[in-house]
Structure formats: structure tokens, C-alpha cells
């Protein structure tokens, strides 16, 4: 038991799922063909709102995380109205700029504690641990120590959130809204000519992406005990973007696979840790040169379905 469920593996698994949620957030905006590089900014808003609420006002975590997400989403609607008039690279730079402005503001406000960041955020693990011990399970459960049990439960919560998101997105894709998203992605002018209110749907995708990013921010704040402005800088945005790029942004499974690979890869490359980020960069270039649509595209899925289907016959 201890070999599989050791703290290190569990921690990595938790990061995989948080990153997967972030991957879904960028998938959301990409599904209307908009490249937003502001996800780290929205994540930052969510994380800080959530952390300030739980640390300073003692609000329970399960309320604070959605509030953080809603705050991020609210801000995204405000900047989205003018920003979504822009397309392509212009939108990318504007949202990148937004992320930088958020970082500088966070760095200068007193409520966010400036460059020192907010520490002493109650982690989900300890919260669950307390609940467990109040249930008389302080010795652990089924051969697992109390700490392992609580980390495992955190993981279960994350899996459930991700599953809910995937379910939501697949349902969304089959709905009127999802079809509108796909139409806008294929050709915005044509979609508008078909009577789709493109501004509304683009804003909706933008706000949904921000909501998910904000909630992921709140979650990550309550997983790591500490948040600082540097956690949500340009590097984070690029990291989130690469999930969608490597995995492919056609299907929701793409960014999730991308997040899985890119979170595991640094751990696997730990023996070559000095060259880790160099390999990472080279990998991005190689992906673009050899498989620009990402690892998983609709064709990949069709191909495997056909292949596996034949084998079943």
C-alpha cells in the first residue's frame, strides 16, 4: 500500500489534476477559436480572493473556491467586452498584458501582502484530516495513515471536479451553445451571418474559462499553503498554454492528456534535472514541427476507434 500511495506520488497526482483543470479552462476559450493568455491572471484573482476569504474572514473552503471563481469570471466579463473585439494575436497580447497588470497590482496591494504573498492558508488535506479525526479515524483507514487518507480524499475531490467539468463540457458541446462555439471557431463571419450572436458566445466562453481558471486558482491556493505573485506570472500562462498545445485543443481530452504528460515529464526527468526545462523547450519546438495539431485530434480518435472496432469484430 505504502509503495503505491506514498506522499510523493499522491502529491504529483494532485498537481496533475489541478493542471488538468487549468487545461480545461484554456480549452474553453480555445473552443471558440480565441487564444487567451490571461488564464494565469484569472487564476491569480481566484486564488487571492479565495485565500483572503478563508484566511481573513474564516469562510469555509467549499464556499470560498466558487466565490474565487465567480470573482475571476466577473473581472473577465468586464475586460472581455472590449477585449473580444480583438482577434488572434491582438487578443493574445491584450490578455497577456492583463495578466501582467494583475501581477503588478497584486504585488502592490496591502490586502494581498505584496511580494511576500499569503501564507498559512489552511490546506484541504489538513481540513479533511480534522474531519477524519472528529469521525474517530485519526489512526487512519484501511491500512493507510491519516495523512495518506486525507491526501487521497483530496485527490478524489479533484477527480470528481475534473469529471464534472468533462461531463459539463461534453454536454455543452452537444448543446446549442456548443454548436455556436464550434461555428465561431470554424468561421466567425459565417457564424454571425447565420444569426449567431458571436459577441455573446465569445464572452460566455471567455467567462467560463475564467471561472474554471479562478476555481483552479482557489484549489491550488488550498493545496500549497502559500501563494505569491510569482506563482501566477507569465511562466504559468505559458505552462497552461502548452497543455492545450501538446495535448491538442480539438477535444477536451487533449489538454487533460497534455497536463498529465507535462506534469509527469519533469518528475521523470528529475535525474536530468539540470536540463529539464531545456528539454521541455525543445519538446515544444519539436511538437510544433512534427505534430502542430497536438497529440490528440479528432482524426486520432477516429483512427483508434476504427482500429479498435475492427479488432472487436
Amino acid at each position: 500500500m505504502d509503495v503505491i500511495f506514498n506522499q510523493y506520488y499522491l502529491q504529483i497526482a494532485i498537481f496533475v489534476f489541478v493542471n488538468a483543470i487549468l487545461g480545461v479552462s484554456i480549452y474553453m476559450t480555445l473552443s471558440t477559436g480565441q487564444l487567451s493568455l490571461g488564464n494565469a491572471g484569472f487564476m491569480s484573482i481566484g486564488a487571492y480572493t479565495c485565500a483572503i476569504l478563508t484566511v481573513k474572514t474564516g469562510l469555509p473552503v467549499y464556499l470560498a473556491i466558487p466565490i474565487g471563481g465567480i470573482a475571476a469570471s466577473f473581472i473577465s466579463i468586464i475586460i472581455g467586452f472590449p477585449a473580444l473585439r480583438l482577434t488572434g494575436i491582438y487578443l493574445a497580447i491584450a490578455t497577456l498584458g492583463f495578466g501582467e497588470v494583475v501581477r503588478v497590482i497584486v504585488l502592490n496591494l496591502t490586502i494581498t501582502n505584496g511580494a511576500l504573498g499569503i501564507s498559512g492558508i489552511p490546506t484541504l488535506g489538513t481540513k479533511i484530516g480534522k474531519v477524519l479525526s472528529s469521525l474517530g479515524l485519526s489512526k487512519g483507514f484501511g491500512g493507510l495513515s491519516a495523512q495518506q487518507t486525507s491526501t487521497l480524499l483530496v485527490l478524489v475531490i479533484l477527480v470528481l471536479i475534473l469529471a464534472a467539468l468533462v461531463f459539463f463540457c461534453t454536454r455543452l458541446n452537444r448543446s446549442r451553445v456548443g454548436r455556436a462555439f464550434a461555428a465561431i471557431k470554424a468561421d466567425e463571419s459565417a457564424a454571425e451571418a447565420m444569426g449567431i450572436n458571436t459577441t455573446y458566445y465569445k464572452l460566455l466562453a471567455f467567462a467560463l474559462g475564467a471561472l474554471i481558471a479562478g476555481m483552479a486558482g482557489g484549489l491550488s491556493a488550498h493545496l500549497t499553503f502559500f501563494i505569491g505573485p510569482k506563482d501566477f506570472a507569465y511562466n504559468r500562462t505559458v505552462e497552461i498554454l502548452t497543455f492545450a498545445v501538446l495535448g491538442g485543443s480539438d477535444l477536451i481530452i487533449g489538454p487533460i492528456v497534455g497536463a498529465l504528460l507535462l506534469t509527469l515529464l519533469p518528475e521523470l526527468l528529475r535525474s536530468a534535472s539540470e536540463y529539464r526545462l531545456m528539454i521541455y523547450g525543445a519538446l515544444m519546438v519539436a511538437t510544433m514541427a512534427f505534430r502542430p495539431q497536438g497529440l490528440i485530434s479528432e482524426e486520432t480518435v477516429r483512427f483508434w476507434k476504427r482500429k479498435l472496432g475492427r479488432r472487436i469484430k
Binding site: I79, R85, Y90, I93, A94, E100, V238, V245, M278, P292
Partner: protein, 295 residues
């Protein structure tokens, strides 16, 4: 005080202009954002620094060396990260991401080779000679920076508008296919443009390294983001825009620091571009007929 700040702003701004020119050239010809530009800039600064520290060459030779090194890096960038993508039709985002990959690679390569600490130029490089001009005190370093960057900008402008190669670059920027049909070797022209832009970036690296007297592997990112801001401010692919936009940004930043909010200095650039994008998405100097406008 005011005039002094204006000179400081102009000096800072002229380096931003040089950085932004690199972005603009590549944006104009290839229609992509070269996110690795900041890292080439940083490598240029290091090459200049090492030439001056170990080979004891003078500042102008160091800059020429940095320019050559930058151009070489640019050539590699084009051959390894951009050209393979052009062979097949891919989305606009692919080159952007590819250059982000290059930037991550280069930054960590620099951390590995040069170490994370910040280095200073040798003290004899350009001693702190100061010249008093009425109320303004201008250092020799500032004069060199202003001189070199304005020189480069005007040479570039002239070269693009008057020479045969410059004409070929502008044609390629207008439309790659048509340029090809007209018998221009566009691959060569693109290679030349990327190398030139990178060389300019490397010289800007030496200049910025001189003005702050600090060269470190992470300097590429912040200056790269500033360059992007200038690109938007001046209008994409617009050379005059990049020059003036850089100056405007430099002056705005220096005045923000001088008259109040020094900790918001880095927000100025992006606050400005968000504003510009909302009011005038084609940039201050871009033509309104299409987004950007070329050269």
C-alpha cells in the same frame, strides 16, 4: 528635473525601440510574434559582456560581436523552429508556441552556462563620465546608447526603403506568394530578416546591459514583454511606430517612476497597451484600413 527625466526616458525608450524593431521586422515579414526575441537579446548582452571582460575589446567591437552572435542565433531560430513549420499549413499559433519553446530553451541554456547571478560590465568599459548641459546631466553611457540606437534605426529605415534587398524584404512582407512569383528567393529574405532582427536585438541587449550595468539570464523576459507592448503601441509591423512607440513607452515609464508610482512601473507598459487596444487596436501609428499595416 523635467528635462533630466526626459533625457533618461529617451535613453530607455531608444533601447525599447531597438527591441521592438526586431519584433516588428519579423511580424511584418512573417506575420508571427517571435517570443524568443527577448532571449536572443539576453544572449547578445552576455556575448558583449564576455567580449569586453575577457578579450578586453572596446565597446563598439563588443557590440559588433554581439550582433554577429545574435544574427547566428536568429539563423538557427529560423532554420530549426520556423522554417519546418512553414512547409506545412498550420495555424497561426504554431510559430508562436514554437518560439516560446525556443525562449524557454535559451533562457535555461543561459542559466546553465552563465549561472543565475547578475554580472556587471568591467569598470573601464565606459567610465562614469558625465557631461553637464544646462540643467541636464548626461552620462557617456547614455550618449552611446542614444547614438547607437538612433543610428541603427535610421540606417535600417534607409536600407529598407532605398536598397534592392530592402525592397525585396518589403515585397515579401506584402505577400510571400507574390514575392515568390516575382522571382524573389523568399526563404533567403526571411532568413535575412530574422537574422537582422535578432542582430538588432542583441545590440539592444548590450546597450541595456550597459545602462543598468547588469546582465542576467532572466533579463530577456521582462524586456521581451516591453517590446511586445511597444509593438502594439506603435502598430504591428510598422517601423516608424516601433521607433516612436518605444520612445513614448520609455518616457512614460521614467515619468511614472519620477512622479509617484514607482512600484507600478511595469504596469505602465501593459496598462497602456490594454488602453490602446481598446481605443485604437491598429496602434498609434497603424493605418486604420487593416490591422497593423506593413512598414
Amino acid at each position: 528635473m523635467f528635462w533630466q527625466q526626459l533625457v533618461n526616458g529617451l535613453t530607455l525608450g531608444s533601447t525599447y525601440s531597438l527591441v521592438a524593431l526586431g519584433y516588428t521586422l519579423i511580424m511584418g515579414v512573417l506575420n508571427i510574434l517571435n517570443m524568443a526575441h527577448g532571449e536572443i537579446f539576453m544572449f547578445g548582452a552576455f556575448v558583449g559582456l564576455f567580449l569586453m571582460t575577457y578579450l578586453k575589446v572596446n565597446i563598439f567591437v563588443a557590440m559588433a560581436g554581439a550582433m554577429v552572435a545574435g544574427a547566428l542565433l536568429g539563423t538557427l531560430l529560423e532554420l530549426l523552429a520556423l522554417r519546418p513549420l512553414r512547409r506545412r499549413a498550420v495555424s497561426d499559433l504554431a510559430p508562436l508556441i514554437s518560439t516560446i519553446g525556443v525562449s524557454i530553451f535559451l533562457e535555461n541554456l543561459a542559466l546553465k552556462i552563465f549561472g543565475p547571478q547578475s554580472r556587471a560590465f568591467p569598470s573601464g568599459a565606459l567610465s562614469g563620465v558625465q557631461i553637464q548641459l544646462g540643467p541636464i546631466r548626461i552620462t557617456l553611457v547614455q550618449i552611446v546608447i542614444l547614438g547607437i540606437s538612433f543610428c541603427l534605426m535610421f540606417v535600417l529605415r534607409f536600407w529598407l526603403s532605398k536598397t534592392r534587398v530592402g525592397k525585396a524584404i518589403r515585397t515579401t512582407a506584402e505577400n510571400i506568394e507574390t514575392a515568390n512569383l516575382l522571382g524573389i528567393n523568399t526563404n533567403k529574405i526571411i532568413l535575412l530578416t530574422v537574422a537582422l532582427a535578432s542582430g538588432l536585438g542583441a545590440v539592444a541587449g548590450v546597450l541595456v546591459g550597459l545602462s543598468f550595468n547588469a546582465v542576467e539570464p532572466t533579463m530577456g523576459l521582462s524586456i521581451g514583454l516591453k517590446g511586445l507592448a511597444v509593438l502594439i503601441l506603435g502598430g504591428m509591423g510598422n517601423i516608424t511606430g516601433a521607433m516612436l512607440g518605444g520612445l513614448i513607452l520609455g518616457i512614460a515609464e521614467v515619468f511614472t517612476v519620477a512622479y509617484g508610482a514607482s512600484s507600478y512601473r511595469d504596469a505602465v507598459a501593459f496598462g497602456m497597451i490594454i488602453l490602446i487596444l481598446f481605443i485604437r487596436p491598429q496602434g498609434l501609428f497603424g493605418s486604420s484600413s487593416r490591422q497593423g499595416g506593413r512598414f
